[in-house]
Amino acid sequence: MSAKNAWDCLQIIRNKNRPTVENYIPLLFDEFYELHGDRHFGDDKALKGGIASFEGKPVTVLAQVKGRNLNENKNTNFAMPHPEGYRKAMRLALQAEKFRRPVICFIDTPGAFCGIDAEKRGQGEAIAQSLYLFSQLKTPVISVILGEGGSGGALALAVCDRLAMLENAVYSVISPRGAASILWKDAAKEKDAAEVLKITAPDCKSFGIIEEIIAEPIGGAHNSPSDTAENIKAYISNSLRDVTKLDTDELLAARYKKFRKIGIYSE
């Protein structure tokens, strides 16, 4: 199968039947219990957290939740978390560390929410603290980008030991639309910007940003959520087997190195 361009991927992940983490959780985990709130401000429905059993072992699950229709999207703010969402994620990550269970993150967001309240409550600080905390977290972290990996809002759940993207997912520093309006003062040139930014899974793998690409059924994940879930399950299972071999020091050293080596410059 030939590599798809970024625009094709965007059409597939924008398909209204594209499965969300709500579809995958029952297919991947047993006994999922959602845990709510950041203990300071509120409960952000854009970022869901909980504990569950994965292949018989306890894990913590953190996930950005896209809606499958307008009502669901209103409820989850189109998967754009506020600071309290990231603070809930940090609370649950520390809890995972305490009880020595791995953290599994599902990323699917256009980005952290941009709004007055988000600024008042420190959106930037919340993301910065997430990057700090996950870089130091003394338990394995496995992340998957399900659809949209939008900028810092996605990165906050992607400081991990293993990162994979679904075949049609994208991961980008800025939305193609945003880039088009900065570059050409024309948001309609989104399609051109999408190609320029190199946001597809094969692009990210070639840059060493992700470890794996998870195959989707022909035409996209919506054609068989259960087959896609099987592939995600195999990736999580293999990744956990690999990283749990490491002791904590080795794990943290490898995680530091994974990000430390990214950068292209001359000197």
Partner: protein, 306 residues
Amino acid sequence: MALENLFGLVKERWKPTTSEATEKENTEAVKGTAAESEAPVVPVAPSFKCPRCMQTTPSDTFEKNLWVCPSCNFHSRISAIDRLRIFVDKGTFIEFDKTMTSLNPIEFPGYDEKTEALRKKTGLSDAILTGTASIHNIPFVLGVMDSNFLMASMGSVVGEKITRAFEYAGENGLPMILFSASGGARMQEGIISLMQMAKTSAAAARYSEAGGLFISILTDPTTGGVEASFASLGDIIIAEPKVLIGFAGRRVIEGTIKQHLPEDFQSAEFQLEHGFVDMIVERKTMRKTLRHILRLHGFGGVKNVG
């Protein structure tokens, strides 16, 4: 007295920028940076119009006032070289990674030409200077971002230099002082630039866990991926008065909410009120403040209690 000295320093810079006398007084490192491309030519505008209060100030008054608006106290943008001249002991700055320059990882159209032109225009290799310096003989590791270079956006070079600076500070038991100014991640380096947020934050985290003191100073503007990474991770976070600090761009938010935002939205004062900076410090007292904070942490002659 100290203030007069500062004015003297600044005046000196504005006299004969290219003369031998001025160049000789600069440190080797600063000289290297500034002189490499025949000294940055700063166009002398007849006056400064403050973007905050719209008042006009004659440029010589403005310069004497350390590029601070005398009407409203807005601390305007200044070059990294000027910052060094104002804040660190003369002749103490030794630059790291002087020759590190960006490549074009995603083959972004026009990026090579743009950075090449900026290197020539600003005399900088990229948007940050890092190195060691001292204030009142107290040594530390320093990073100073310069908004003249692609709005000091963070790409591979900025990310790598900051990471190395944290690592050097950690290995040598030195405090870390970083003057941030940035539009955010550097779009022209695509996903590689996003990863610099994780890389620099992980370096800041390691340094902090090892007991290092990190003073983060937010200047105009500190936004986007820089505000959402190392700049927000200081043990002590200081802002210059009236500067812009925030995550999302003002226009992005206005576009979402379809209404005009208040003038002071995302100002240093707004961030102080909401609990995201420790203090607002004026340019003319920054040196003294930094000296005191360093001393309170056991650097420069005062021992930690216990």
